[in-house]
Symmetry: C2
Subunit: 434 residues, 2 copies
């Protein structure tokens, strides 16, 4: 029986999951692969046993380089996270002609282009199914199943923490802060959840999806992102009343020459397939030709589901090794490296679509007429309006849905509205996608 | 630029779609594959032009053998359908050492085992993504993404015609026959829809899913199937009232030693992810370790989505050819041929779970007590009961939900209930899955 040794860098939650899959389910994997995937080295700066797994003797080390540089190990799994040590070790492994499997979306969204080019030159694979949507087979599907499809749009729920928070806020009418505190207790939010709730993590993943779907390298810093911290239970309740749900969506639309790419809380109709994706589940909803529409749903995080995706990448590389395939049988990022072309990202100020607005006003005659006058002057027409008589901080909220409008017009109108003496605080708005 | 010639057998709807993808989107595919997939031969018994596509000169023939036997063509696409000519030509192509791509679920569900063994001996691939769930990448995902997962259950909506009919019946409260007539007009049901509405088509596909998920050959004739023809608007309305939806589900549960495998209309809770899969969409919902839960949704049929899946299989084989991989880099049916093991299929009479029952009774005192007495004597306890006073054919319907019960007990109880003088007609029952 052929053995394929693998080295594991980072023995935290996912690392322990990977070790458990390889050690506990080794027989299943060996039966399916026709070779044994052997955990030959595990490196972490923290010593000591980990719950739920017992490594074979001599496998653990605190010296990551001894694993990366071991000439008998052809596949390195990077689960350290972050962009410093991880980057150094991934580069080193690739330089030494080793295949790398990683779940590190921040690393790929920031330095992906140079790392994929390096892997390409060295004739090795850099695989990353677990980096986007955890156990959802979206990376593989974009590379293989959807190879004949020209994507036109991607809508994705790819941050479990924010989806959990929004789901709880919707179902229980609770406040953002209250749900966040609970999510931390339950382990669904990290101690510092900034990157999850401000859209950064989703933007990292969207950069990777865009790269795969449109054949273009996109640095995540060019992706517009708004977080969920400003969503109030009022927004939730009125979205509900209008027949919508609020989800933090990563959105890309366009073709291989220019796209929109943005992450923000979005109103979607309650019968949209993504509206029912609740809690910590993730989902990617795609449209394209000839595909039509497709949606993939699953666990976006969590020790065992993510570990399963990491091991699937290891198996794929092992199968290429066993079958003696030339490097990059299937292109790492869905398009051959030499066919990657720059893509222009449209300014979000040019975004066109309907909007939801919440304006806090002092209830006096003529206020709605003033507001609709300003909107009209900016080519924005009102589709629906609801005014409630419930006072919040001495003002009443007006809720508006607009017809299709251009974002820069909306921004200009909001600036003028917020200068009215009868308007209190800042007007909140959210984008609607149908 | 390297060229990979392909031959196409069957120039009907999907065949035309494949030709359109290869001819119209050829540049996209060439860019992604790094080689040109060339449509070298197209065979059909029916001559004449097809709408929406113009074949290059000299490509069309009525002589399928001239395509299958052409030594310059390494990949044959079979889209003839049926189990006679298609089987003969697929066998012949495999015998001649050609890779075959097919969308023919009936062929694979019936003769798959011998065909895969032949392909295995000949060192060629038999690929079939489009055979189950059309554009949904379920076959590929079972083979690659979920390679480390031991599946525990599969619930699938894999017949678009019946899902369309049930969706329309639910949403509009219409009768089965009325909706079927409409579906035929709209092209969502064939002139003879028997195999779609009686569960045969879904059972074909389930046989393939079981083979992939559990590593066992399963002949479809061993799969229990009930169709949707007996579902009445009354069932729909009351399922709704109890918080359920009725879907024709293909279900497999178990492990690599024994499974349940069945196709039948099923009550599922209205917040189950499959409950929202409406119209002609298909979906496969999976559970396993370490995967957790996952669902893949998309077009299960239709010219262009299905054609996209066929072309993805062609590309995968082309990539293996270009990279010079040894045969069967990834096992055709997810597990290496030599690792396939028989699996025992549990008798549906041993199925255990809750049931829905509809009993037509003459409304007189004591009827419910007689019925519940019979159920109790067969170890069946009632969870909920609703009796309506609306008369249908001189009787009133009683609707029951049971707690967990064993099917053979239920069948025995139903036989006794149907013998009661106060019971009219045959008692209908449906399985509930939570």
């Amino acid at each position: 029986m052929k053995e394929i040794p693998v080295g594991l860098l980072g023995f935290g939650t996912i690392g322990v999951g990977v070790a458990r899959v390889l050690l506990d389910d080794g027989k299943l994997i060996t039966r399916r692969v026709g070779a044994k995937i052997k955990l030959a080295g595990v490196a972490d700066i923290r010593r000591g046993p980990r719950k739920g797994v017992k490594l074979p003797k001599g496998v653990f080390t605190t010296d990551a380089l001894s694993v990366v540089d071991d000439p008998s190990i052809p596949i390195i799994i990077e689960l350290i996270g972050g962009k410093t040590v991880a980057k150094k070790l991934v580069r080193r492994a690739l330089e030494r002609g080793k295949h790398v499997v990683t779940a590190n979306k921040a690393l790929l969204a920031t330095y992906g282009d140079q790392l994929f080019r390096l892997a390409s030159r060295k004739g090795v694979n850099l695989a990353f199914e677990a980096a986007v949507g955890g156990a959802i087979p979206i990376i593989r599907s974009l590379r293989e199943a959807f190879v004949a499809t020209q994507m036109t749009s991607i809508f994705a729920i790819i941050n479990g923490t924010s989806n959990y928070i929004l789901t709880e806020m919707t179902q229980r009418g609770t406040d953002y802060r209250e749900v966040l505190a609970e999510a931390k207790k339950l382990g669904y939010a990290e101690a510092d959840p900034t990157f999850d709730v401000d859209g950064t993590d989703a933007a990292h993943k969207l950069a990777i999806l865009v790269m795969m779907a449109f054949g273009a390298p996109v640095t995540f810093s060019r992706i517009h992102r708004d977080g969920i911290t400003g969503i109030s239970p009022l927004d939730m309740a009125f979205a509900h009343e209008f027949g919508y749900r609020i989800k933090l969506l990563a959105i890309a639309k366009g073709d291989t020459s220019s796209i929109e790419a943005r992450v923000h809380p979005t109103l979607i109709p309650k019968d949209h397939p993504l509206a029912g994706v609740e809690g910590v589940l993730n989902a990617v909803y795609l449209k394209g030709k000839p595909l039509g529409e497709s949606m993939l749903v699953g666990h976006g995080a969590g020790m065992m589901p993510t570990a399963g995706a990491v091991v699937a990448d290891v198996v794929e590389i092992a199968r290429d090794i066993i079958a003696g395939c030339a490097p990059h049988r299937a292109p790492m990022r869905a398009w051959p490296e030499k066919s990657f072309r720059p893509i222009s990202i449209r300014d979000i100020r040019e975004r066109s679509g309907p909007y939801y607005m919440r304006i806090a006003v002092i209830d006096r005659p003529g206020v709605l007429s003033r507001i609709s006058g300003i909107l009209g002057a900016h080519r924005i027409s009102i589709a629906q309006v609801i005014q409630k008589d419930r006072q919040v901080d001495g003002a009443v909220p007006i809720f508006l849905l607009t017809h299709e409008a251009v974002e820069k017009d909306l921004l200009a109108a909001v600036r003028k509205i917020d200068r009215l003496s009868m308007v209190k605080g800042k007007t909140a708005f959210l984008r609607i996608e149908e």
